[in-house]
Amino acid sequence: MSIRGVLAVTGVECTKLAAQLKTRIVLAACVAGPFGFAAAMRVQSSVPTDTLFGRSVKESGFAIPLVVLGFGALWVFPVLASVVGGDVFSAEDRYGTWTTILTRSRSRSEVFGGKVLTALGFSALAVAALAVSSVAAGVLVVGSQPLIGLSGELVPPSKALISVALAWVTVLPPTLGFTALAAVLSVATRNSAAGIGLPVVAGLMMQLYAFVDGPETLRQLLITSAFGAWHGLLTATPYYGPLLEGTMVSATYIVVCLVVAYRMLRRRDIGG
């Protein structure tokens, strides 16, 4: 297995992605969605009080990306993570093209590596697009006023921007964790509907657990807990405990899922 080989496969997968309608739709939604939301907040009189920073959406543009962040954890991030990750392997089963790509000069390891890299890259790109777009939407539609933080303190615009950007970065590990989960389901079920749908369902169920006062350790082991780790960045004295935990849990999910997926693919008999 060589890096050059993996990159060759990544290039091919990206070309295929670029030719598909769904990638363009998803990325377009990531860019347009926050603007629609910001416009709605500007126009309507009531504000979302059930999400953190919802009360502040009319007062500071920096609240918009944080509300999107809070709302996104429920199903948006799992969907963004799975839409490519859950299809990248099972698409070959759907089209019958495993034979076609495995009879070239790339080993199964390189094909696996390239597809995983593509899936992770797309998830990161979608999150980044959503982040940039929400910040832009907030600042352009509402303004760059100082933000009231989670300790009641007033955060100046420059610091607010940095905190918001960092908050979005912390959401990458769990999103990539969902991508890895979607990938292993895609390999195991050979079915894109399962590869995309099951992680989203799993995410919803994990989020439901947040409402239950069950064992704390179990809650920490759920990858969705990592979606809320950014709260500690918006307090007067920041705390990083949940962030550290969340990143470690996400890393574990990524490693475990990818190792399992790799083994399954390596040992599979194609056709026959």
């Binding site: 076609t100 009879t103 790339r106 080993s107 390189e110 040992r267 026959g272």
Partner: protein
């Protein structure tokens, strides 16, 4: 140049209780057009999948172009190409774009464009190459599959029923390509259930039935063992005619599914048989030359018994390497 382009020895594969391949040997030299003949479900496609690294065999060794295959690496060596069953491509991309992607997978991004054009020219897809593969017919996909294989400038080429969806002209073109490649030194493994096509096209033959090799050797040997042309006979009493044939010297008859008989005999034995039928009160309703069926071929091969096939293969050994005796 390697002595053998392909050496598959003792390949066995079992799926659950079904033994798909049972100690199969297949050996081909460079420049040989080697036919792999057998009915559907005999294991031809499974064997090709094993050789291309798509399926792991339970036992046996495969060497492509002199290099032993490590299946876990799963990389098809340079100079080896092929397709199994109807080739599949990405339906949302054009034929040309599909080939361009495959060239990139082969690690040839820069010079790729020329290769693609040359391959498309060879298989004659023309302006259809711009259309998305989703709208291709099976025949067009087969041509594209051949083009995809030709991209790799193969010295060992596996073709799985490459003319099954083509019209006669297309089939003729593909046969010409295979012939030309073989003349240029490429070993071509051509699998088919069409005996006439394979016997006409290939120099060497391996016949497979239910996962076992029943014949391996030169086409000429097979013709000697089991002539290709037979007669189709319909009578007023097919069962009695079959029984009568067994007592006629030089006449071998097998019953076909629709009740008619397939008779293998030289012209004198046939004449004597027809006369005997008349004397026995069995009327001949139809007698014509007929392309023999695979079933009767296998019956012949196994009936002939080990002795004869072994003799034939000893002769073939000088030419093709080890072969499997029928059981």
């Amino acid at each position: 140049m390697e002595r053998f382009a392909l050496e598959a020895l003792g390949v066995s594969k079992r799926y659950g209780r079904h033994e798909a391949l049972s100690s199969v040997d297949l050996v081909a030299r460079p420049g040989q057009l080697h036919g792999l003949l057998g009915p559907n479900g005999a294991g031809k496609t499974t064997l090709m999948r094993v050789m291309l690294g798509l399926v792991r065999c339970d036992a046996g060794a495969v060497r492509l172009l002199g290099a032993g295959r490590d299946l876990s690496i799963g990389r098809v060596p340079d100079g080896v190409a092929g397709f199994v069953e109807t080739p599949a491509f990405y339906p949302y991309l054009s034929g040309r774009k599909n080939l361009a992607l495959l060239v990139r997978l082969d690690g040839d991004g820069g010079a790729g464009g020329d290769r693609v054009e040359r391959a498309l020219e060879q298989i004659g897809l023309g302006p259809q190459a711009e259309v998305t593969v989703g709208s291709y017919s099976a025949g067009m996909r087969q041509r594209l599959g051949l083009a995809a294989a030709l991209l790799r400038s193969p010295r060992l080429l596996f073709l799985d029923e490459p003319t099954s969806s083509l019209d006669p002209r297309g089939a003729r073109d593909v046969r010409a390509i295979a012939r030309r490649l073989a003349d240029e030194g490429t070993a071509v493994i051509w699998s088919s259930h069409d005996m006439a096509e394979v016997e006409e096209l290939c120099d060497m033959l391996t016949v497979i039935d239910r996962g076992r090799v029943v014949f391996s050797g030169a086409t000429g040997e097979l013709r000697q063992l089991a002539p290709a042309a037979v007669f189709l006979l319909r009578t007023s009493n097919n069962d009695a005619a079959l029984e009568l044939a067994s007592s006629q010297p030089g006449v071998r008859a097998t019953s076909l599914t629709d009740g008619a008989l397939e008779v293998s005999a030289d012209i004198e034995a046939l004449d004597a048989y027809v006369v005997a039928l008349g004397r026995a009160g069995i009327a001949v309703r139809l007698l014509e030359r007929h392309q023999r069926s695979l079933e009767s071929l296998f019956l012949d091969l196994t009936e002939h018994g080990a002795a004869e096939t072994r003799a034939a293969s000893r002769g073939a050994m000088n030419d093709s390497g080890p072969s499997q005796a029928a059981s």
